[in-house]
Amino acid sequence: MNSGGYETVIGLEVHVHLKTQTKMFCRCRNLFGAQPNTHVCPVCTGQPGVLPVANGKAIEQAARAGLALGCRINSESVFARKQYFYPDLPKNYQISQYERPIAEKGHIMLGDRKINITRAHLEEDAGKLIHAESDVSLVDYNRTGTPLLEIVSEPEIDSPQEAAEYLKELRQVLRYCGISDCDMEKGSMRCDANVSLRKKGSKELGVKTELKNMNSFKAVEKALEYEIKRQEKVLGEGGRITQETRLWNEDKGTTRSMRSKEEAHDYRYFPEPDLPRLVIEAEKIKSIRDSIPELPAARRRRYIVQTGLSEYDAGVLTQEKEISDYFDAACGMLGDKSSENIKKLANWITVELLGKLNAEGSGFREDVISPPHMAELVGYIGAGTISGKMGKDIFEIMYNKGVSPGEVIREKGLKQITDGDQISAVCREVIESSPDIVDKYMQGKDGVLGVLVGNVMKKTRGQANPAMVNAKLRELMGRRQ
């Protein structure tokens, strides 16, 4: 993005909670939304004399994230103490990684654009502060010690929209790998954005500000848009940008300076004396790499190139791994794997199934209609056994009762009638009983044919093959002429 002769430079620091049973350095439960201070112990509340013991699963999750983002995993990495005083940090230091993080040098692809990832490092989260009463802040240490991965991008993002795209792609990758829920509203994904402007074509970076407190992708986009306009105005008037942390205010739609942070940026890192270096064997890295599923970008490509789906359909099907897995499973069970049939299957999933689940406000569930049932339904439609319209009625029954389409068809006698003699007989009946309409048709009013087709469909409870009915009616009336 550039306006007023300036280019925007954005770098993102994303924190995600790692999915584990227990905290990073103690065995308290890692759980969101519990009663305050019910999952705490001497380690995570920083009592004297305690020692941290690192969570093997958290380290595996961090390495998995690094690998999924194309990073190099350092066979040796080091924990460090980052010191600052704040009531949400009972030890007065956070265990983090500084000089040697677990993962370095990865990237995320946004279409053809490559956004490089500088590093990803392991750390522990702080507690939660609630400013409820006038003179008191309340502290909940349940979150203290939750395993966190901080993922830092290079300053290569060039617009607020691209920042949002980066976040969406990152979230998708991490969710596919089961690394984190990445729920911004629950705080399991948080994003700080560094933004600066520079003269178009200049190689040097301008002075940046750091934006915090954005609780959704939309908020990240809006905060960046606001901040870019603010910086443009300051620079346009000949002023200078102050390097500072600014808080996004969602209600006002503005950012404001967070003065207390200005002095505090001296964290005096040093290697954590309570934890030896973290060594990950090559064999372990390999086994973690093998556990990474096919990622969303690869699936999208596969759907477009191999199965001929549109970019839009591929995007909808890959938004969650569960949906994509469902599509793959159903696709594998299709008897006729023509691209026409696959496209039909994609439509039944994205329009009917997702539409219904979304309307109910529930996330994706495959138990309402199992992949084999879905494949069977699309198979019947593709083969002309039932019409699309009948398919929708059958889908409703399948959705509500969990039965197979074959069962519904047998029970209700819903099979499409494709027997020529049978169709011919019903068509004759309709023609005999509607002389007025037939006359109109004979006078050249082709439009009334639809009424006759409709009557045949009514008599056959929608089971006659509409194309055959159409042809038969024309043929019969042609004969009478």
């Binding site: 439960r29 201070n37 093997g56 699963k57 004396p273 934890l275």
Partner: protein
């Protein structure tokens, strides 16, 4: 080490120094720093850095083992009520 540097370090470490201490400490700290400089003269090229404890990190299995005696922790707090630790209002 001068007084300004000492005051900054004291501020970061939340130490309250008397005027007398502010005068004495720069000299003492300078002595320590000089000792470090002396160490730096050693030729350590070819010696791998061994900053941390020796050995590899011992990892715990990800299995919940709750402490369970929360009162022992909350009882130490100067102010605790309705499930929360209470501190002087943090303004941000």
């Amino acid at each position: 080490m001068d007084i300004t540097q000492i005051e900054k370090i004291a501020e970061l470490a939340r130490l309250h120094l008397t005027e007398k201490e502010k005068k004495e400490i720069p000299e003492k700290l300078t002595e320590i720093l000089e000792y470090i400089d002396q160490l730096k003269e050693l030729d350590t090229s070819g010696v791998p850095a061994e900053l941390e404890q020796s050995g590899n990190l011992r990892l715990a299995e990800d299995i919940v083992d709750e402490f369970g005696k929360i009162e022992a922790l909350t009882g130490n707090a100067p102010d605790f009520g309705d499930g929360f630790f209470r501190v002087k209002k943090i303004i941000e």
